[in-house]
Symmetry: C2
Subunit: 579 residues, 2 copies
């Protein structure tokens, strides 16, 4: 029987608990958000003793369902002050699931300043002293860790930014080649782990019992439908868009749509877009050769394989992975059109434990404050090194975009609920702007990726400037909450929104594992139930419709090239979740 592992940092004890009935049909985001809703006081200090950090693999994670190696990390966010679910694919989540753990709940608060790691095997969980690893480069310590615990373990960790309780700090996991490169980046959950002085959660899946499956035939039936959908759709199939060019295939597309935020959201087109695009990355891999790889998986068993390893000019490894969000945040949004510089910045984010979206937005705001010219990659690198050094400037930047803007009096601050915006200009794509505004997570494209129908003609085809998208936005967010619960990567959505059998497959996989009898109609219902808990948490934490707004400057500054402002009425936003 699967268990919940409680990790108490007050007295450094662990306990395996039975899974309460009400949690049995949950996983991933559904489980983290419900535990946070049930156990965390919404008004608690996010870095104080009463916050908790919940790690939960999805329902299908640890099985051979395709593209299912995801974990949700949940807690009260030090960045937004609201509930947070930050989702990532890596080696780690399947190992946790196969060890029979539905969730790991980190709670309590240490009295001393020592750093600790937790080593989990099939035989139990043991703490180990981790002071020797604190304050160091993640790239530097990772080889030592794998030497110590074995090459096949999964590691969840934080970098120096998390140790310093910075709101830009994510939770880092190892990829299939044991790089510190996969991130539950958003919302500063690394700072929460830092506040609890837990530096590592190492999981060893050796001889693990695996995930219980109630109805293997049904599960396999669903799995095959999902595999077929992913292998068929142009975006997700082997050799398809994501596999060939990675997520950065979007750079040219979004730039063409006039919605690629440039130089701190002051333009919708970047003259250097092509140089930082997925096509440019593929060309690097082809012409530079060496270790360069497009179509690299972030976790075993992924069909899509949208990750990459970008080579240096000499074919050695520059960094893995440069995603669309990363090449945009550290590139176009900072006015930087040099992919090698973006690679260096990405490596630094990985090394320091930073969310690349928040990092890029923060550098851009610092540039707007006059600390560097837009496009000055050397200064951008210096800024990240300030975070490593823990200088006062590093402590400003490390707290993220809104904090940096406030420190220097910048009013063009592209955040919602304190979280910096991803790579889609809401003035030019209204549905994603609505999603940023009303998401429970702050500005977050993964809350409801309406870009699919708004730009990619996937799952529908709607005009990017149309503001009448309440139904679309609501449906996408509820469906997404279910997908984030299923353990699948959100990118399955491209396939299953267009291929009904794939959608059925997702539900059948879950039914097969859990023994439930959900229909496809239950997806939105279950997603809504999860989001309703998140909304209730946020309301109790003090969020109101006034927080469901885009930044004021977008309502009066026209965005080139379409010269559009943010014009979705507040009443439209407020109506989406009013039921």
């Amino acid at each position: 029987m699967a268990k919940i592992l409680r990790v108490n940092m007050t007295d450094r004890t662990t306990a395996y608990e039975d899974v309460p009935d009400k949690y049995k049909a949950l996983g991933g985001r559904g489980l983290t958000s419900t535990v946070v809703y049930d156990e965390v006081a919404p008004t608690c200090h996010p870095l104080g003793p009463h916050n908790k950090l919940v790690f939960a693999p999805g329902i299908t994670t640890g099985t051979n369902a395709p593209t299912s190696g995801r974990v949700s990390v949940g807690g009260k966010s030090p960045l937004t002050g609201g509930i947070k679910e930050s989702n990532s694919g890596s080696v780690w989540p399947p190992l946790v699931a196969r060890l029979g753990l539905k969730a790991i709940v980190v709670e309590g608060y240490p009295e001393d300043n020592g750093w600790w790691g937790l080593h989990i095997t099939k035989d139990g969980a043991e703490f180990f002293a981790a002071d020797e690893y604190a304050g160091k480069s993640l790239y530097e310590i990772f080889p030592d860790l794998f030497e110590r615990f074995g090459e096949k373990v999964g590691i969840a960790t934080i970098g120096v930014s998390g140790e310093q309780k910075m709101s830009m700090a994510g939770i880092c996991f190892n990829d299939i080649d044991n790089r510190p490169s996969r991130y539950s980046g958003r919302g500063g959950l690394g700072a929460v782990l830092g506040s609890k002085h837990l530096k590592f959660i190492v999981v060893d899946g050796k001889d693990a019992p695996g995930v219980e499956i109630a109805n293997k035939d049904l599960f396999n039936q669903g799995r095959k439908k999902m595999v077929n959908a992913l292998r068929t759709h142009d975006i997700t199939k082997p050799g398809g868009t994501l596999n060939s060019y990675g997520t950065a295939a979007l750079v040219n597309v979004i730039n063409e749509a006039g919605a690629l935020p440039t130089r701190n959201f002051s333009d919708g087109r970047f003259e250097g877009a092509a140089k930082i695009s997925g096509e440019a990355m593929a060309e690097y891999c082809e012409t530079r050769g060496g270790v360069g790889t497009m179509g690299h998986p972030c976790h075993p068993g992924c069909i899509i394989q949208c990750s990459n390893v970008i080579p240096n000019p000499d074919g050695t490894e520059m960094v893995s992975v440069i995603e669309y969000e990363t090449t945009w945040a550290l590139g176009a949004n900072c006015g930087i059109d040099d992919l090698d510089a973006i690679g260096k910045l990405t490596w630094l984010c990985n090394d320091l434990g930073l969310d690349t979206i928040e990092a890029g937005n923060t550098i851009a705001v610092a540039m707007e404050a006059g600390m560097a010219e837009f496009g000055d990659a050397d200064k951008a690198i210096e800024m990240l090194e300030e975070i490593r050094e823990g200088t006062p400037l590093g402590h400003i930047l490390g707290q993220g975009t809104e904090f940096t803007a406030k420190a220097f009096g910048v009013t063009r601050v592209p955040t919602v609920k304190g979280q910096a915006m991803p790579a889609y200009e809401p003035r030019a794509i209204k549905g994603i702007g609505m999603t940023y505004a009303i998401s429970t997570m702050g500005a977050d494209h993964t809350s409801g990726y309406t870009i699919a129908p708004e730009i990619l003609a996937c799952g529908g085809d709607v005009d990017q400037f149309d503001t009448d998208k309440a139904d679309l936005v609501r449906a996408f967010q509820h469906t997404t909450a279910f997908i984030d619960t299923s353990g699948h990567c959100l990118f399955i959505a491209f396939a299953i929104l267009d291929i009904a059998e794939g959608f059925e497959g997702m539900v059948e996989e879950c039914n097969g594992i859990l023994g439930t009898e959900w229909t496809t109609d239950d997806v939105v219902r279950i997603g809504k139930e999860i989001m309703d808990r998140e909304l209730a948490f946020n309301r109790a934490a003090g969020f109101t419709p006034a927080d469901d707004r885009l930044p004021e400057f977008m309502t009066y500054e026209k965005l080139p090239p379409h010269d559009v402002v943010w014009d979705v009425p507040d009443t439209t936003l407020d109506a989406v979740f009013a039921d």
Copy 2:
């Protein structure tokens, strides 16, 4: 007929407007809060183009009503994100009132980076270029300004902190000796003026028409009652407590009550209290001689005269004024028991344009973060100099207590709605804690000074630890909103709470000036109407009951010497203004 002066910083124009009927019976806080409620979008960026800054003398200001030289400054606070009224007594408010101005409304937003001043005389308002004064010490530029505009003008200004849009920046006014020493300090309104690039509002009262009085006999009748009350009460009378020892007479009293916040709110008693008390200041004045003066007025016509000029050992001027809040914030709360060091820190706050309460709390939090030992005055001085220099550390500290705590991961952060607490420990004095929690202003003792009945047996006599004070807290806040509207200093409350004739006198003064027919029963009604607008603004800005809470650490950390936690139920807090 009195006018409202509109100052538009977009195109640098001014306009004198008739006072709308609905504003005619308002003044001070009643007028600023109503104009802000009527004209400022609650969700606007406080440093963006849509915030406004409203200056309004009180109803009696500019007349010979005693202790009435007050101005309210109102706007959306960059510190709290809510409505703000910050009140101050100086030379400036009576001059504005005598020029026939009910209010000065500063609005709009400049496109360039130049600094401007506004020079207001009976003949009108003219802008002057002020770039030459920017970036400089206020003590350095004040003599030049008075040489240029005349010794009898009033000056409202900001220091370098306001120019740099720091949330710790107050609005500075000249005292009767033309020092830059009287502050509408709280809530960062100096940053709002800085965002509009208005460095000075200079008012020249020469040949001003004066304040219109509808019924002089009635006004004089009220004025006499007020004078009698102030001259009779032990706290307010000449030679009384405030006149002899200043507000810092409270140091020993509050320390004895176990409620003097010490070393960042970690203790309720400070072993060095006596050395930083009003009695110690009086001894300095007596033994050091020279310019040392207790019983110094902050504005002409004050009977109480609770200000002071503190001498150096050689009798030259150290600083004016060290108030209770100041000697506590920069003293006990930082573990500093050296009055000369506190004097130097106070001088620096005046010179840089800082709120001393926010400054002291911020230094204490920085000390807790390990940037200095508690009690290290030299390091505290260095911190304030960082603000002057505009270093990254200065930009952290300049944004105040909560910001500094977040930058360095400190969770013992004594703020409500982002504003740092004054010099009364809420765990040990429950009514003032309730006031901090539910005030529209953030943590603010002047919202409802329940210390009077809780500690001083003035206006009642209640136990400091009793938590059943909803009625008391409500009545004090509503009454205070009226007093802040009347133009009187809040300290008249000591006298008029105990002496009914004084209370009548306040109402008769207002009726005499305005031609109204208010009774003493109208005081709470009018105060409530004003606060209801403030509450409505805050709700629309996104405040909820979750914001009406003391910091979480106070609910679980016991405060010595009484070993008390914050234990007023949330339901009690939420009921105070629920009607």
